[in-house]
């Protein structure tokens, strides 16, 4: 009796796992399909660039404040922590290099992507989810207007264009924050701060790789936000869950992808 109950519970568990696996594989396929369609129907986004520009304003420009404020504090903390360690080895002048490399290579693209997912990604998911709930997407379909060309593609390209720009701004403002702490506050030499940075930050190995990372994160974060909105069940609870999933999946994907990209970049 107990044995058969145990068997039944194990079977139920296995069935649940199988169901979740199938659902996740289906979602991955549906997401890839949406990505493919967004690329195919991108012509309209460039032909009528004002549609994409409008979305760049909402995803990029409206994210500027959170990016600038975060970058400023991240840069300041980096300078404080970096100085604390570097001065033990008598190389506190290298603080500029440390701040710049940490920001340009890693923190700029990664933190920008995480903030983007929390600010712009959730907005995209909620907007599209609500458009679905209020039948706006169906209305568009019934007017013979393709929602992927009109709604998805402009938002996709807006995210892809905005992310590297936001990451660059993040790195620049972070360096400024680091400078303000290192030079006027701690008293590191001004010339040493900038000259060491200039000598040790490589354009292709550091800056270009950082831009490549932010481009990849732009594609991934925007696509996750778009798919979650498009796939959200048309209820208040469905939209709320989709918005949460956007942040969780985007954050984990960005952190995982960062490790993979960094590994490739260091090997190559």
């Amino acid at each position: 009796m107990i044995k058969s109950k145990l068997m039944l519970s194990m079977l139920r568990h296995l069935r649940g796992m199988g169901h979740r696996m199938i659902e996740r594989t289906w979602r991955l396929g549906a997401g890839a399909r949406l990505f493919f369609l967004a690329i195919v129907y991108s012509g309209e986004s460039f032909k009528r660039f004002h549609l994409t520009l409008r979305e760049i304003y909402f995803t990029g420009v409206m994210s500027l404040l959170i990016i600038i404020v975060s970058a400023f504090f991240v840069g300041m903390v980096l300078a404080l922590q970096g100085y604390n360690t570097l001065q033990k080895y008598g190389s506190s002048e290298a603080i500029g290099v440390l701040v710049a490399l940490a920001l340009v290579r890693e923190l700029g693209p990664v933190v920008t992507a995480l903030l983007f997912a929390g600010r712009a990604g959730t907005a995209i998911t909620a907007e599209i989810g609500l458009m679905k709930t209020t039948e706006q997407l169906s209305a568009m379909e019934m007017m013979a207007v393709n929602p992927i060309a009109r709604v998805v593609a402009p938002r996709f390209w807006a995210g892809v264009i905005s992310m590297p720009i936001l990451a660059s701004i993040f790195s620049m403002v972070g360096i400024l924050g680091g400078y303000l702490v290192a030079v006027p506050l701690i008293g590191v030499d001004d010339g040493a701060f900038w000259s060491q940075m200039q000598a040790n930050v490589d354009f292709s190995a550091d800056i270009v790789n950082g831009v490549i990372k932010s481009l990849v994160f732009g594609v991934v974060c925007t696509m996750i936000a778009l798919f979650e909105g498009f796939d959200a069940p048309p209820t208040a609870e469905g939209v709320s869950r989709a918005t949460t999933r956007t942040v969780v999946i985007s954050s984990l994907t960005v952190l995982g992808l960062d490790f993979i990209l960094t590994s490739f970049m260091l090997v190559v």
Binding site: E135, M142, M143, A144, R150
Partner: protein
């Protein structure tokens, strides 16, 4: 050119193992106002979605202007949809666009008309629904009835041959209901279009419809002119038209015996 702009032929549709429509036949002659009526969940809105090609039938076919809808590719479906206008139950206005831009939306998306002409056309459409003066408002600033009228102006923006209405009277006050009712008839006649109304509001629908189909249990339970149906002795039609509490459509959803269920619950609590 066939005399019927829409024909539904032996149509069956189901999902998740449940058959919603079982061999439905309907015709929608040009220039007429045809109503599809039935209780909630009888699949009336699904019929509109089948006509619009948003879903495919399990069996049978829907023909719009002679073309079988579910056999069309995406381009073919879009070509057919350019002949249709649809008023959604809650309007489905684009919340980020003004009233003017909502009505201009299909013109800007589907035509190459100059902006000056679009402006004139939008004002004409809004004037037809009595809301020319509200063109600068955002959808959030409109009442339910006004939103429905703006959605109607948008649905007729490109002078469609078929106008579909999904529950156009639901949730409206009596004045707005009367206005929408009169607009459906007058716009249909002015545009020479065919209107398909899905509704369960008997009084308003019977006032403007030329012909009515009653859908129940996945089939066409009755059909005829509003006068025929008012006189109908069919139990279902009688109950629906006169709003009787009990009849072929029972008041209670099928359930276990009331007394034994209550006793079972209380004994379960004791245990």
């Amino acid at each position: 050119m066939t005399s019927n702009i829409v024909e539904i032929d032996n149509l069956s549709f189901g999902y998740k193992g449940r058959l919603l429509h079982k061999g439905i036949n309907m015709v929608f002659p040009r220039g007429k106002v045809i109503a599809i009526m039935g209780g909630s969940g009888s699949g009336k809105t699904t019929l509109l979605r089948l006509i619009g090609g948003q879903i495919k039938p399990s069996h049978g076919e829907v023909r719009v202007d002679g073309d079988v809808v579910h056999k069309q590719d995406r381009e073919g479906i879009y070509t057919l949809r350019r002949k249709m206008g649809m008023l959604f139950q809650h309007g489905a206005l684009f919340t980020d666009l003004s009233v003017f831009d909502n009505v201009a939306f299909p013109m800007r998306e589907l035509t190459d008309l100059p902006e000056a002409m679009i402006r004139d056309l939008v004002l004409m459409k809004l004037n037809a629904v009595g809301l020319r003066g509200a063109h600068q408002f955002m959808p959030a600033e409109l009442s339910g009835g006004m939103a429905r009228r703006v959605a109607l102006a948008r649905a007729i923006a490109l002078d469609p041959a078929i106008i579909m209405y999904d529950e156009p009277f639901a949730g409206l006050d009596p004045i707005s209901m009367g206005v929408i009712c009169a607009l459906i008839r007058s716009l249909n006649d002015a545009l020479g279009a065919t209107s398909i109304i899905v509704s369960h509001d008997v009084k308003e629908t019977f006032l403007i419809a030329d012909y009515v189909y009653f859908v129940a249990n996945g089939e066409v339970a009755a059909e005829g002119t509003p006068d025929d149906l008012m006189q109908s002795k069919l139990p279902f039609v009688h109950q629906f038209v006169h709003g009787d509490k009990d009849g072929p459509v029972p008041f209670h959803y099928p359930a276990a015996d009331y007394r034994s269920e209550l006793l079972q619950a209380s004994s379960g609590q004791k245990g």
